[in-house]
């Protein structure tokens, strides 16, 4: 498997959004989030499909995952008709960071739904080791050429992402 970098953003000071762009064909894309954390509280890392820098925020996100936890029982979670994909929550302590590997499928197609799979390993706001293995879909048949990441703690509240490297690769 070869990977060709399409876009990358390294955050070293607080930003409201990270957009990765350049999805321009029907290839599978791999997106890696490394060492991500937020600025001022215990907030969740979130993701939406987008076109250029315009995110899709309608309630069309369905996803499911198995939550892994180093200290307690694993659990299953299923979410339907959400307006985003939600990952784990980290606080502001130095070692609380999030790492993800996503694969994006059919994002560029104007007729197919946009699918993804996600794998995660995170030291969360508890703090403890957690992670997830799962996947999801944005159930609108339209073309997307980018992805938005940000942090928040409610539907309307968005906060700055303080650090992290966000990279998009085409799988060839």
């Amino acid at each position: 498997m070869a990977l060709v970098q399409v876009d990358s953003v390294t955050v070293t000071s607080p930003v409201a959004s990270i957009y990765l762009t350049g999805i321009n064909d029907d290839s599978v894309y791999m997106c890696v989030v490394s060492n991500a954390s937020n600025n001022s509280g215990d907030y969740q890392l979130r993701m939406r499909v987008a076109v250029d820098s315009v995110q899709k925020s309608t309630g069309n996100y369905d996803y499911a995952y198995k939550q892994l936890d180093a200290t307690t029982t694993f659990f299953n979670s299923a979410v339907t008709n959400a307006n985003m994909f939600g990952g784990s929550t980290t606080g502001t302590s130095a070692n609380e960071v999030q790492n993800y590997i996503f694969y994006f499928y059919n994002w560029y197609s104007s007729s197919e739904y946009s699918f993804w799979t996600n794998e995660e390993t995170t030291y969360n706001s508890t703090p403890k080791l957690v992670g997830a293995t799962g996947g999801g879909v944005y159930t609108v048949g339209e073309s997307h050429n980018s992805v938005r990441f940000w942090t928040g703690n409610s539907v309307s509240n968005e906060y700055d992402t303080t650090q992290g490297t966000f990279t998009l690769y085409r799988v060839v």
Partner: protein, 178 residues
Amino acid sequence: MSNLRLINETEITSGVSTVNIEDVFSADFDIYKIVANDLSTVGTLQTDPDLRFINSSGSVISASNYDYAHLLMFTHTSFSVQRATSQAQLYRFFSQSVDQSPESGNQVSYIFNPFSNSSYSFAIYQSNSALAGIKTVIKGIGVLKQTASMTGFQVRDSNTTRPFAGGTIKTYGLRVDS
């Protein structure tokens, strides 16, 4: 040119209980992919193929700073979980217990920021194996809770007396171009 770069390929020599793969993590990459295949033992008694990191001084990290959690998916019975904190290794990182060929263990994993001296070293791993007819798939996560620079890792026969007969470990770096 692919951004996934092969850094090291190590063939396990028959009869060894530890295999140190050193000087593979560096400032050139933040994320690494490890692919292991055909891990087996010399004898018929099984062992757990664990991982320990190796620091920039060449020391194998055996302090109780590892946490892990993984799901075991069996073909013969119900799924189960294993999780622990403050361990001396990432238990069954390379697979569920392995024994003599033709049964073996096979694995793919990603390591995040091992070379950084300001962040923990994280892992995502998945494997499959066969042992005495029992087939097991593992999906897991791990962390070494040390903010020290790691430059390599050790594949370890956890029993220490049931050495490996063979296997191949490939380490790739995932390049981020600025």
